[in-house]
Symmetry: C2
DNA sequence: AACAAAAATATTGTAAACAATTTCTATGGC
DNA sequence: GCCATAGAAATTGTTTACAATATTTTTGTT
């Protein structure tokens, strides 16, 4: 009768190291492990119930993703994003995701476009109902961008954006209780969608770049207004 | 005297894992470990004279860089680049390095520009002397691109390009004995340099994108002409 | 002889013990 | 009272041994 594994999770999907890496990523991008937190091997080893070997592998993986930084003989910490680094991330994201939008305009299937359209409708109704709060804002935004990125059909591009940059962006969003602007974002998403539907790659790229550039400026502004009273 | 370390290398700079990772990268991008080669832990553990722990860490690191692929309980292999993957890499490189050129146009110091100019002069004389062969072609090309990338002053961009994409490109260049076209490349480098010197970011980006796009088409052509007789 | 199944081998994944380095703490001197 | 230094504790780096999985070889059957 449903003999479970050693952990109370579902059946083991891969190796312990992979599982712990997933848990660690979740703890970081959810904010349970805040920026700059020490990653103690013995402590987390006990917490996750695995040996130090698999845990070290997980840490190594996260280091490759840029979520933690390590110093020899000193240990690992959750990365601390400065404003400069966050701006750099968004600058790279702008170039990469602009390219993704351009490719997606010619490569997305009709079905993918229909799905994207219904996603936007769902998002719109949620905004009207709850007058622009709730989790759907962050998640919906992510969902839209993930679909466009995947629509590019460029595996390397997908990996760079989803496995590296977006983890960092999610981490920042959670740790800084910044309020998004769902109405404006939705309007921009709808314009991007129209360009995709029209198979207009140039326009899709330009709109996506402006969309991300706008988000970057908001963040820079937010940080500025928050750093001031902390001095 | 000069009491050396356990290995005959210079003094240990970091940890064994880091050192082995460097050696592994060297073996891969030099072609000593060709594409698709098995990465046997016991074998390489003996070869490099370290335990399996540090070697595994090195493999993990290379997996993060995209140089090796791992399968659970099966092992690691040097990545095999298909034409599709190579095209994808160059597409991403085009977007990223175009951005780097645009940023470099406004951010490179006058001294950096002078150094870049002298590098191009050195490169030109080498081509005229040896009529376009010798190692300087590959190395010189890399050197030029590295300087422009670093001129962007965007650390994340630098890391993406130098630590991930360029390793893969170097690997491909070595394993496929493809001949470069140093004269054409130099001419294009000189045009890019002029745009940088004029602080014309838009032009620098466009020229860099065309330069890389051209290289991509050459590679695609080369692969096509090589894959045909192998069918 | 060819195929399938089962045992043997080898390799990877994991845990535990040891070594080396760093960090914290306490003691002594100024 | 403060700083420097020496020792102790804790953590990371590394090796070794063990367990689990995959691959290969062997053996038996059709």
């Amino acid at each position: 009768m449903a003999e479970t594994n050693s952990t109370n999770d579902a059946v083991r999907v891969g190796t312990q190291a992979q599982e712990v890496a997933g848990l660690l990523i979740g703890d970081i991008i959810s904010g349970r492990l805040s920026q700059g937190s020490r990653i103690s091997e013995p402590e987390l080893s006990r917490k996750y119930g695995v040996g130090r070997g698999p845990l070290r592998e997980a840490i190594l993986k996260l280091e490759g993703a840029g979520l933690v930084v390590r110093a020899p003989h000193v240990g690992a910490r959750v990365v601390t994003l400065t404003q400069t680094e966050l701006s750099e991330i968004f600058a790279v994201r702008e170039a990469l995701e602009g390219m993704a939008a351009r490719l997606a305009a010619t490569r997305m299937s009709d079905q993918q476009l229909l799905d994207l359209e219904s996603l936007l409708k769902t998002h719109a109704s949620h905004i009207h109902e709850h007058s622009g709060q709730s989790y759907i804002d962050q998640e919906g935004d992510l969902d839209f961008h993930y679909r466009v990125i995947n629509g590019s059909c460029n595996q390397r591009l997908i990996r760079s954006l989803c496995d590296e940059l977006y983890h960092l962006i999610q981490m920042y969003r959670k740790t800084s209780g910044r309020r998004a602007r769902p109405e404006e974002a939705l309007a921009e998403h709808q314009m991007i969608f129209k360009a995709l539907k029209d198979r207009d790659g140039e326009l899709a790229e330009m709109l996506m770049r402006r969309h991300i550039s706008r988000a970057r400026r908001e963040i820079e502004q937010f940080i500025d207004s928050n750093n001031q009273p902390m001095s």
